[in-house]
């Protein structure tokens, strides 16, 4: 059983991130950015200067998954613009641990180099199909052609991080300059205002220097490990968003008066908010448990665990938002109140990088297998 102390440590670090973000802006910190392009170098570098993008690599050991998830809570609560989880819990660890690279990790951590990471086009957390790119090998050169969709921060990135499958079936990671010949980026319709995505069209030749760790490096395990941690962080963002919405709703219904009393004093409203809080605490418990299990060297998260966790968190966020809008009445329907920022986060995260219906199928298959596997034992009981 984990120590409550570990959790407290993670929460203390989260409070530090909260302070950094407070220093970046006031009120709803990122409203101008979210209503603008969805990314601002000045904000990104301010976050980077706090060291937050490199916590997974701190002291050469790196923060535990529990800590990364606690930070993701804050990112979701504040709707931080930029590829925070994708950088902190995916790009930076891969760059730092993947071997020699032309990309300066320190500048990525500092926020001065922006990396857009391509996540799997299909598959599941434990069996990803990395890309639909066409890769042909000629000597010690790779010709990579194709299109990557829904790449977060593609239009703002200096470097695109591209995991892809080699002819031997193993996975390698390429780093491609976004300004290189043969690379074009088109913005996509923005769903999460904090994570503008783009489609990256590639027709490039890649040499050994562009591959993390060189020509012979294979990174299946490294990718699998950090794909899981990134997914946990996205779940954490959803919980952070949901918890923030409950807190805002409690404040609003405590102040807003109708019939001479706060609307939050009516039982119908109380129960609406109570259900929302229940959703948050259930999701929080599950994502924290999964993060601790991921940290435990004697334990391992199955695909179904991760799928269930993400489904619970994304549904919690959606349900909380729906209830919050209702509890806010007409105000909840206005742009001024800002629910659209968290809705965007929830709607995007629900299906990124893996669609909810795929995760649901993973969860169901595992559930069915386990239940039927245990059935003979139950029959003997009876």
């Amino acid at each position: 059983m984990i120590g409550v102390g570990e959790l407290e440590e993670a929460r203390a670090l989260r409070a530090g991130l909260h302070e950094t973000l407070r220093g970046v802006a006031t009120q709803h910190p990122f409203e101008p950015v979210l209503d603008g392009d969805g990314f601002a170098r000045s904000v990104w570098e301010a976050i980077g200067s706090g060291g937050w993008l490199g916590v997974a690599e701190e002291d050469g050991i790196g923060a535990a998954a529990s800590t990364l998830v606690a930070l993701a809570h804050e990112v979701g609560a504040q709707v931080v613009p930029g590829p925070f989880s994708a950088t902190m819990a995916f790009a930076v660890p891969l760059l730092a641990r993947g071997g020699a690279s032309t990309v300066d990790v320190a500048s990525v951590v500092a926020g001065t180099t922006v990396v857009a990471a391509a996540f799997p086009a299909r598959g599941m957390p434990h069996a990803p199909r990395w890309t639909d790119l066409e890769v042909t090998e000629a000597g010690r050169q790779l010709h990579v052609r194709g299109r990557l969709s829904a790449v977060i921060a593609a239009c703002d990135a200096d470097v695109v991080l591209v995991p892809f499958t080699r002819s031997d079936g193993a996975t390698a990671i390429a780093t491609v300059s976004s300004t290189a010949s043969g690379v074009t980026v088109e913005p996509e319709t923005r769903l999460d205002r904090a994570k503008p995505t783009g489609a990256v069209q590639l027709d490039v030749h890649i040499g050994p220097d562009d591959l993390l760790g060189g020509w012979d490096a294979r990174h299946d395990e490294l990718l699998a490990h950090w794909l899981v941690r990134h997914q946990l962080c996205v779940s954490g963002e959803l919980v952070g968003a949901a918890a923030e919405i409950v807190a805002r709703t409690v404040r609003y219904v405590s102040e807003r008066r109708q019939f001479g009393v706060p609307v939050g004093s009516f039982q119908a409203v109380k129960h609406l908010v109570a259900e929302a809080h229940a959703d948050v605490e259930l999701a929080r418990a599950l994502v924290e448990e999964c993060a601790r299990r991921d940290d435990d060297p004697d334990d391992s998260l199955a695909a179904a665990d991760l799928a269930a966790c993400h489904l619970v968190c994304s549904r919690a966020a959606r349900r909380v938002l729906d209830r919050a809008v209702q509890a806010h009445g007409g105000m909840g329907f206005t742009w001024d109140h800002g629910m659209q920022y968290w809705y965007g986060l929830a709607l995007f995260a629900e299906h990124h990088p893996f669609p909810a219906r795929v995760l649901h199928a993973v969860a169901w298959d595992a559930l069915q297998a386990r239940a039927l596997d245990a059935a003979p034992a139950r029959s003997e009981d009876a």
Binding site: M1, I2, G3, V4, V246, V250, V253, S254, F259, G260, V261, P262, G264, S265, F266, Q267, V269, K270, H271, V273, A274, E275, H277, A278, E281, L282, A283, A285, L286, E288, E289, D298, A308, C309, L311, V312, R315, H360, A363, W364, L367, Q368, R370, A371, L372, A374, A375, R378, E380, D381, A382
Partner: protein
């Protein structure tokens, strides 16, 4: 406890269950009538008590095993996995035992605790009254002095196993002039005495699980006041808050088993899947997600309890959402059985479905739980609403 100690505990209990739990005790369908079921619950209670598994978190001095919350959770999980039946004193051990351990005199502990565990005495709970359900502190059963001892008069309702009980732990009003919550005492009353009348209460599932109990000047010995006079509300609420996490841990484990059984039922429906089957699959998958989250929240409560931290409204969340998930699971099972509902197995499932309706009512209705959660969020008082 570390991982290895927990694994060893689990192994020890599994071996004990294999040797001590007869398969026929696990399936109420095969037991026939309610008397047979009661007999099994008593016998199983005796065995669990003798094996020191009935109250594993209690001190070994009183028949427990001194297990911390995480060890207790392992025991509850294994009992659920083995489909072990309930025991007659299960609820008193969970609810009243901690009160007695915390507030009772040495004489009270010596007299009652071991006999509760081994089912030498069967206990019932006298809390709810006709006009004091969710608003429990409005209870009116009165305790009045009678020489060195006391007399109790009033009516209690929803008294589980009241018609089998030897003893009752009850909350009574001992000071009519004190504020509502301040004039309540926790007392022990012998059921086999003049002035105590028990009427079984038939529930919608057709069983006499509950009773209503009438007290007319029944005797309460001075040494059977638990804690200080007029301090009963605090004792009951503090002990309940401490134990609520563990209480519902068991039910959450059982929910997992219920869902698995429903999945098995779905798989056995035949070779011609229909569109309805995918709907069942979707509902069961959703229930499983809720079950996973509930399991994680129960673990969290146990961790906080072990660390001596406040669990806040988390137990209310578990109670609220477990009870609703339990009812939805029973809905699915009933729909899956469809044309088999008239079979003995089907009839048992109908009984369970009907009995599940109690889950959102007892131990604080869903509405009360939502109120508690809202209060934990410091939402404005309803009293400010006209």
């Amino acid at each position: 406890m570390d991982r290895h100690q927990l694994a060893e505990l689990r192994r020890e209990l599994q071996e004990w269950l294999a040797a001590n739990l007869p398969p026929e005790w696990c399936d109420p369908t095969g037991l026939g009538d309610e008397d047979a079921l009661t007999a099994v619950r008593r016998a199983w209670g005796e065995r669990l008590g003798a094996g020191r598994w009935a109250a594993p978190s209690w001190p070994s001095q009183w028949g427990g095993r001194d297990l911390p919350p995480e060890g207790h959770a392992v025991v509850l999980e294994e009992l659920a996995r083995a489909n072990a039946p309930d025991t007659l004193n299960g609820s008193p051990i969970t609810i009243f035992g901690p009160m007695l351990l915390q507030e009772g005199t040495t004489a009270q502990k010596e007299r009652y605790l071991r006999r509760m565990i081994d089912h030498s005495d069967i206990w019932c709970q006298g809390f709810s009254e006709p006009d004091a359900g969710s608003d429990l502190a409005s209870l009116r059963s009165s305790l009045t002095p009678d020489g060195d001892d006391f007399r109790v008069s009033g009516q209690k309702l929803w008294t589980t196993h009241g018609h089998h009980a030897d003893l009752c732990f009850m909350l009574v009003r001992s000071d009519r002039d004190a504020p509502k919550h301040a004039g309540i005492s926790l007392v022990i009353v012998a059921m086999d005495q003049p002035g105590v009348t028990v009427k079984p209460l038939r529930n919608i599932a057709g069983t006499n699980h509950f009773s209503e109990v009438f007290f007319d000047e029944a005797k309460v010995r001075a040494e059977d006041i638990v804690g200080r006079l007029n301090d009963g509300w605090r004792i009951a609420t503090e002990a309940l808050a401490h134990e609520r996490g563990v209480t519902f841990a068991r039910r959450v484990f059982l929910l997992g088993r219920e869902i698995d059984e429903a999945i098995e039922l779905l798989a056995r429906r035949g070779d011609h899947p229909t569109s309805a089957d995918s709907s069942f699959a979707h509902r069961l998958a959703d229930l499983s997600l809720e079950h996973r989250a509930l399991g994680a929240l129960v673990s969290r409560i146990l961790e906080l309890t072990a660390a001596g931290e406040d669990v806040g409204v988390l137990p209310s969340i578990v109670k609220l959402r477990w009870s609703e998930a339990h009812q939805r699971t029973r809905d699915v099972v009933l729909e899956l059985l469809a044309e088999d509902l008239a079979s003995p197995h089907g009839a048992e499932q109908v009984r369970r479905f009907l009995f599940s309706k109690a889950a959102t009512i007892y131990a604080g209705t869903s509405e009360v739980q939502r109120n508690l959660i809202a209060a934990g969020l410091r939402m404005p008082s309803s009293r400010s609403a006209s």
